[in-house]
Symmetry: C2
Subunit: 196 residues, 2 copies
Amino acid sequence: MVRWEPGARERLQTAALDLYVRQGYEQTTVSEIARSVGLTERTFFRHFADKREVLFQGQEKFRQTFVGAVAGAPADSTALGMVAAALTAAAAIFPDERRPYSVLRQQVIDAHPALRERELLKLAAVADAVVDALHRRSVPEPAATLAAQSGLTVFRVAFQQWLTDADGRSMLAVEGDVMRQLGVTTAGAAEALPAG
Amino acid sequence: MVRWEPGARERLQTAALDLYVRQGYEQTTVSEIARSVGLTERTFFRHFADKREVLFQGQEKFRQTFVGAVAGAPADSTALGMVAAALTAAAAIFPDERRPYSVLRQQVIDAHPALRERELLKLAAVADAVVDALHRRSVPEPAATLAAQSGLTVFRVAFQQWLTDADGRSMLAVEGDVMRQLGVTTAGAAEALPAG
């Protein structure tokens, strides 16, 4: 019989992150995570495939948020406008209350090359999904790939800043700032290389 | 006694790619590659760590080309100008004669998710190295990351186009075109998101 544990998933996630930070990711076992909140290994495995999965559990929602926002952007949007809609939607996944959790999660990931690779590949998969979504909105190449990759770059840079932002600005405010700086950085693109 | 085999490295590389394309990457063994050009497994392993390495052997030179060009760019260059210098230098690694080899190599990589991940991580490592090189040229954040990521995006999109370019344009010409399109795509960045 499968017992439903109210909030078990969230309790396991918080406990896991706490153990990863305190005693190290490698040193932590699934059994320890479960025991620390009075649950069994079996319960853990009903919620997560393995201990790495705890850190990447929001991945599908994250991808769908980007893709859904591109699909739902106004008909007259530019490619970058559709990507901006995706960044606006993604910012809502990271409200201020989530910052402490995100800081600890990033700390664990940055300390482990294999987890960093996993994170990188996850973001690359989201970029690919955004490219596909832009194609479905009739954005041609290379605009679709350029807009999607620029959007993911803005997200990554903004997320890093948001984690440690001295002024405690919202993710959306930081994204807006980074997007404007992308405009400044790429302003000379028309003359950066000789004409073909 | 280690015998020096003139051109052994290049012969092994060509033979390996030929076998990967004809009979499949998984199905090809190191022993087969070596035998097909009259060499031994031992000779193969003097040149490559494993059969995957044959496909990624130019990686260090590639990274150094980007980093060296950023380091050597004129003092008054913008961040994007330094990245453009890196793209110009990188284009020289891909002269027209190399296109047939690059097409086959890409075909093998695209057919294998693990190789695609390896390629992605390689390009991410180059982007990180370019960020470091821009920091050493006193480019601050987030301009350094935005310029480096934009440069690598231009490289990837241009490379893809160059492989199958109907007009047979040079890699530098295609890079120039993609860079200009990046400028068009990001032109609205200043107003894409609400001000913070």
